[in-house]
Symmetry: C2
Subunit: 186 residues, 2 copies
């Protein structure tokens, strides 16, 4: 099993105009990405936001599905949302992984844009086959802030379909990327 | 480009207990699946529901993003939602495709369960390379009703990750399946 942790970043991300913002937590992001993470054997799904009200909201959603009425209504969904850990910063995520894995993760950022240093899916798939922990980060809103992209160990090449349209939702992109990086080769 | 049309079915589908029901339209299904469809060059994204109030709701969402304030706010999103056609039944979808393509589509259903007759992703990918139209159907709620699955020309094998957890959202499943069937081979 790959040693992968996923993070959904709500700060620092950019808005439509390119300004760095903190985005709001979206209920279905937590559901869809935790279900995909559980399907592909991801160890932890970190939801990263420094905003107190968004931390409260995310905790309420997670509690409902892992301990409240939701857990009784749909125990299978519970298994997915149990993967979620809320952290305030990417640095806190790295420390948390270090604490459990005794090693800091290599960070991999995803982005809709190709960089000269972007690594291909195939190469990244090879790197993930090792035992070292990896943190795969996804940006909400209009994507991760430039400072986070350039600070990462790896920038993953963008998902390209059959057209020049590259505006997948973060939920769809996360699902496709997990399938490409750690899914069974078909 | 593949000649593929996608349908998101709200009836007939099953609920948690296996009863055949008509499910409610989910806003983010329309966004996420239309964006994935646009990315992978899908020709039409059919939203299938016989319920009048759900047709009204779906039309309001589509109008907002293709003609209303949403279209001005996010013209890229508009391009995706323009792919949507609302139909009341799967038979109406087939007729609509026949009208534009002068040929009825072969129907391919997706399902989280494997059937003895399930076709592999690899074989299906080969079939889609031809010129005939195909209709790829996804069920909402707990999946397509048995009658719809057995009536299809092909049943696609389920998406399997690295675990025995197979409870992806329909949004994630649709994204992965489009990538596996018509995405650029990596």
């Amino acid at each position: 099993m790959p040693n992968i942790h996923v993070a959904l970043i709500h700060y620092p991300v950019v808005n439509k105009s390119g300004d760095v913002i903190a985005s709001a937590v979206t209920n279905l992001d937590l559901h869809d990405i935790s279900r995909a993470a559980k399907t592909y054997g991801v160890k932890t799904f970190y939801v990263v936001t420094p905003l107190k009200d968004q931390i409260t909201l995310a905790n309420r959603i997670i509690d409902h599905w892992t301990r409240g009425a939701g857990a009784r209504y749909n125990p299978i969904r519970c298994k997915a949302l149990e993967l979620i850990q809320i952290k305030q910063t990417i640095a806190e995520v790295a420390s948390h992984i270090h604490h459990s894995e005794h090693s800091y993760p290599k960070t991999v950022v995803t982005c809709a844009k190709k960089y000269p240093s972007s690594i291909s899916f195939e190469k990244m798939r090879g790197l993930l086959a090792g035992e070292n922990p990896f943190l795969l980060a996804f940006g909400t809103a209009w994507g991760l802030a430039e400072e986070t992209i350039t600070a990462a160990d790896y920038i993953l090449e963008p998902v390209v379909g059959n057209t020049n349209y590259n505006h997948l939702s973060v939920r769809s992109a996360a699902a496709i990327i997990l399938d490409r990086l750690i899914g069974t080769k078909i």
